[in-house]
């Protein structure tokens, strides 16, 4: 479904963020990308979101080369992806429910679809009771669950999670990971970038290890080794 072919990303003048990376991700896979800060995890996710273009190589998503896409094709591409970040990127002026509704409005969904889908997603992430609270009134874990709900609402094929547990305590961390696993079981591909050793070792899923922009390990039931 996703395939990186000899992808390099160089930030001028001479920062090599990714160096000749090749790998593939199948549908419904749960893949973790690990590495130290600056190893290239975030760059890799940015390339997938088409917010950056590779300096060399090709990135295929469902058969289409992302790096060849014109600006008019990128929005359609992004609709197939849900993204979750360490800093949640929720809109502070909207409560949890509205943050999700906003996405549906942006995508031009009807009011019926909004009333039907938003409560369902809030239920999946366990935020039904806290839906009318603003981000500032939510705990870090709740905020991240709201962000995941928002990433899910448009039924993406893939969820990219960039350090989603970076700001969370161990309890909330395992809650979020459990939630991602549940979403994966429902059929969504998950790509999780993290440097949390415990998560990786407890998951027992595929692990791609990056080091200084190079892919140094790709194991089916990987562990966190750096």
């Amino acid at each position: 479904m996703i395939r990186f072919e000899n992808v390099s990303k160089i930030y001028l003048p001479d920062t090599v963020a990714l160096k000749n990376i090749s790998f593939g991700v199948e549908k419904k896979e749960f893949v973790s990308i690990v590495g130290k800060s600056g190893a290239g995890k975030t760059t890799l996710l940015k390339l997938l979101l088409a917010s950056e273009k590779p300096s060399r190589g090709k990135i295929f998503f469902g058969g289409r080369d992302i790096s060849e896409m014109g600006p008019e094709e990128i929005p359609e591409h992004r609709k197939r992806i849900g993204a979750v970040f360490q800093d949640y990127k929720l809109l502070d002026s909207k409560n949890a429910y509205e943050n999700i509704v906003y996405i549906m409005e942006v995508l031009g969904k009807s009011d019926e679809e909004i009333v039907r889908d938003v409560p369902k997603v809030l239920d999946i992430v366990g935020l039904t009771e806290r839906a009318d609270h603003f981000p500032a009134e939510l705990s870090a874990g709740e905020r991240q669950r709201a962000a995941i709900a928002r990433a899910l609402i448009h039924r993406p094929e893939v969820i990219l999670a960039d350090e989603p547990t970076g700001n969370l305590d161990p309890y909330n961390t395992s809650e979020i990971i459990r939630l991602l696993l549940k979403i994966n079981e429902l059929g969504t591909t998950i790509i999780l970038a993290t440097h949390n050793k415990e998560i990786i070792n407890s998951l027992g899923r595929r692990v791609i290890t990056l080091d200084q922009g190079k892919l140094v390990r790709d194991e089916k039931e990987g562990r966190f080794i750096l």
Partner: protein
């Protein structure tokens, strides 16, 4: 979307746009008015040939015919001494000092004259040359022509320099308002950066993200055009009688209403054009998808 947020900035933008549109409208109005004034003066300009006391009416009539043959002017009007006196009395009968001094002179001090109106301003030179280089020259007291020529030239050069200054200022203001709209749009983009980031992430279309900023440019342009239009309409309406008193036949309000469509088009065109183009460029430059 962001219109309500950045009130002060939007007000500044509209103000600068109003200045720009006002200046461009002024150039347009000035062009029309100066055409009108020049036409009015050209209409009035004629060559008055005053004859010495000794010259008889017959001689003058002879000369009139010759001028007709030489340069085919639009018309030549003979004004006798008596007619000139009558006209003077008629014009100044309300002014006792003038009438009194006329009485004191005792005789008719006016000279008989030919008022020549050319069909084309270029003919004046030709007629003047004919008059000077002719046997009649000795019968002529004076030719009143050269006194009016500089007036026309002055008006021409005055409106010309007004126009040049106006155009230079407009270019400057267009550039200035372009920068202001650009900054307003940048600020709006900055204020909404989080929403924009989220919109991008979920694949909102380019137009969905960029559209509101262009709409903001259009709204600012239209608002500025409407304000300028109101100012000019009011100004023309209020000052029209005063100007009319200064220059007879020049009715600014009438000129304004006659050219209403042109003025509206110029104002809306300038406002919307500036608003849209500069916000479009900003969005292209600063709102990467």
């Amino acid at each position: 979307m962001s219109l309500s947020r950045d009130g002060g900035v939007i007000a500044t933008t509209i103000f600068v746009l109003v200045l720009t549109i006002a200046l461009i409208t002024s150039i347009f109005l000035l062009k029309g008015i100066s055409h009108f004034v020049i036409a009015a003066i050209e209409e009035k300009v004629d060559i008055s040939v005053y004859f010495k006391e000794t010259v008889s009416e017959d001689e003058i009539m002879e000369m009139k015919d010759e001028i007709y043959q030489v340069s085919e002017p639009e018309n030549i009007q003979y004004v006798s001494k008596e007619e000139a006196l009558e006209a003077f009395i008629k014009r100044h009968k309300e002014e006792p000092i003038l009438m009194q001094s006329l009485e004191e002179i005792g005789v008719n001090p006016f000279l008989a004259s030919l008022n020549i109106k050319a069909s084309d301003p270029a003919q004046y030179e030709q007629i003047a040359q004919f008059l000077e280089g002719n046997d009649f020259e000795e019968s002529i007291e004076k030719v009143d022509y050269y006194q009016r020529k500089p007036v026309i030239e002055r008006i021409f050069s005055l409106t010309d320099s007004f126009k040049k200054i106006g155009i230079a200022l407009s270019v400057l203001l267009v550039f200035f308002s372009f920068l202001v709209v650009l900054n307003t749009t940048r600020l709006a983009i900055y204020n909404l950066r989080e929403e924009i980031q989220v919109q991008r992430l979920v694949g909102a279309s380019n137009w969905f993200i960029r559209g509101p900023f262009l709409v903001q440019g259009v709204v600012a342009g239209v608002a500025a055009a409407l304000i300028t239009f109101a100012i000019f309409a009011l100004g023309c309406w209020i000052f029209s009688p005063n100007i009319n008193a200064l220059f007879r036949d020049l009715n600014i309000w009438e000129y304004f209403t006659d050219n209403l469509l042109g003025i509206i088009l110029i104002q809306l065109g300038t406002g919307i054009g500036l608003g849209v183009i500069s916000s479009f460029i900003t969005v292209r430059k600063y709102l990467k998808i």
